[in-house]
């Protein structure tokens, strides 16, 4: 089985994980127009390069980030969300965690 290197639990079978979509900054909750929410909700990366994605380890309830190639399926890097660059999320999402 394909192995996902989980930052918390080490290498585990991919069937223990759930894909959670692309890592994108949340629009400003107070002021973002509908069009920005539509963009955030329905449009995401679907190219042929490396994507930064949310992944969830189901048994331990742990969300983390994986950088995965969308053609070769190679997982290049996995890390805790705290290691995300500052512009990857915004304040509200950080406060939520």
């Amino acid at each position: 089985m394909k192995i996902m290197p989980c930052p918390l639990n080490g290498p585990r079978n991919i069937s223990e994980f759930t894909f959670g979509g692309e890592v994108t900054p949340l629009p400003d909750v107070a002021s973002a127009p509908d069009s920005e929410w539509a963009e955030h909700t329905f449009y995401s990366y679907n190219g042929t390069g490396v994507a930064r994605e949310w992944w969830y380890h189901v048994p331990s309830g742990y969300w983390f980030v994986a950088e995965r190639h969308r053609v070769t399926d190679e997982i290049l890097r996995t890390y805790d969300p705290s290691e995300l660059p500052a512009d990857a999320l915004n304040n509200q999402q950080e406060a939520f965690q």
Partner: protein, 424 residues
């Protein structure tokens, strides 16, 4: 022959064989009234109806590989219209009607076979959803009803009525459900279209979409496409372009300069050795994430939902096969003894509401036939007709208006998530 085969095996170029029913390839013209990108079922169906109903024959269908060799050849050939929304049921019902007469229309056997499609309910909530789907279907003239365990036993005597401690409580019996040979549908349309003067160019890849600034559209206006044939590059001008490249919709749209609300997932399916006919209806179970049907040749086709995460790759994974087959064997325990003969993977362009995207794009005269997820084959005839009307008139036909790309930014989705044969 073995030597010739070996030569092809070692050759990097795909051997090109000319089909007897299709005209020999000609060289590309510098201008076409309409260019259709993608020579799968949808592309050739659009070309066919353009020529047949609208008299537009200065049309080129451009196909990167070979006719019907993409996802047209990778689906599991299910024809049904037992969807959930009024918009969806209306649209797919038209397709089911058109499929019935295609063999006569083409004078070419597409092996259409009306078997009925049975979806199993294992929970009370599934029964409630099925009741709604049955009523919506009847309202639009379909033959769909909710049936109980006794009727299911009569329809499918080999079915395990108590699989995996989730007893079969009821079924959605869709009498219009059918199957057909998917390749033959593409071949029939291609034959009919080329006989009427449409050009089909295989091994012709569109490498770029040419868009010029336009006063009436912020996305610009399409003027032509760049193509590659082997090592030769050509530029073709066109009045109208249609993209019908399921599995790669977002990548082509990007070349035309806009984004689509689509994420592409692989979908794996497989087929067993042939056995005696025992299974007439097409059987699916959303709770067990699988559907099972027997082909005219006796093979059993297994399909399920798309893979759990997006990828542009037709690789095979053992974990998905094990999971899918474990469920199929729960439903039909004796199948545990069968051997798998082939497996394959297609690419499904999934939209978040599980409905397609048809109609206008941000680029003027560039029309979309995209987002065909796991529901593309069954809509081939009606989508071809609607897209042909759009190309010929420039107006979006009423039937496909609900499926515009704008629906996502306007929050008017057509939610068919609950009506997929195998939940995703």
């Amino acid at each position: 022959m073995p030597f010739a085969l070996l030569k092809y095996g070692l050759n990097k170029d795909y051997p090109f064989e000319q089909d007897a029913d299709l005209p020999a390839p000609t060289s590309l013209k510098p201008h076409y009234d309409a260019v259709i990108i993608g020579g799968g079922g949808h592309g050739v169906a659009t070309a066919y109806y353009l020529a047949k109903y609208h008299g537009i024959t200065n049309v080129a269908v451009l196909e990167k590989g070979y006719l019907g060799g993409g996802n047209t050849a990778r689906n599991t050939a299910v024809i049904r219209s037992n969807y959930l929304t009024s918009e969806g049921v209306k649209f797919y019902s038209e397709s089911v009607k058109l499929f019935k007469d295609l063999s006569n229309e083409f004078d070419f056997n597409i092996m259409y076979s009306r078997r009925g499609q049975l979806t199993l309910a294992h929970t009370d909530s599934a029964i409630r959803a099925f009741r709604q789907r049955a009523e919506v279907n009847k309202h639009f003239g379909g033959k769909t009803e909710l049936i109980g365990p006794q009727e299911i036993r009569e329809l499918v005597p080999t079915l395990n009525m108590n699989p995996g401690h989730q007893p079969v409580l009821a079924g959605l019996w869709h009498m219009d459900g059918a199957t057909a040979r998917h390749d033959a549908v593409a071949w029939g349309y291609a034959k009919g279209a080329t006989q009427r003067g449409v050009e089909l160019h295989q091994l012709t890849e569109v490498t770029d979409v040419l868009v010029e600034a336009s006063s009436s559209s912020s996305g610009g206006k399409v003027t032509g496409v760049k193509v590659r044939q082997g090592s030769a590059e050509h530029t073709i001008r066109c009045g109208v372009a249609v993209q019908a490249v399921s599995g790669h919709s977002t990548l082509l749209a990007e070349k035309a300069g806009f984004q689509l609300p689509i994420v592409s997932y692989p979908l794996q399916a497989m087929v067993t050795q042939p056995v005696k006919p025992f299974l007439d209806p097409l059987v699916s179970s959303p709770a067990f994430h699988c559907y099972v049907q027997q082909t005219g040749r006796g093979e059993i086709v297994f399909g399920g939902g798309s893979d759990p995460y997006p990828l542009y790759n037709s690789r095979s994974t053992l974990e998905l096969k094990e999971q899918l087959l474990a469920h199929a064997v729960e439903l039909f325990p004796f199948m545990a003894n069968l051997k798998l003969m082939r497996q394959w993977t297609g690419l499904t362009d999934m939209t978040s509401d599980y409905s397609p995207i048809m109609g206008l794009s941000p680029v003027e005269n560039y029309y979309l036939d995209a987002g065909w997820g796991t529901w593309g084959f069954k809509s081939t005839p009606i989508c071809g007709q609607a897209m042909a009307e759009l190309v010929a008139t420039g107006k979006v036909p009423e039937l496909i208006q609900p499926f515009s790309a704008d629906r996502f930014s306007e929050f008017r989705q057509v939610n068919e998530m609950g009506a997929t044969a195998a939940s995703h």
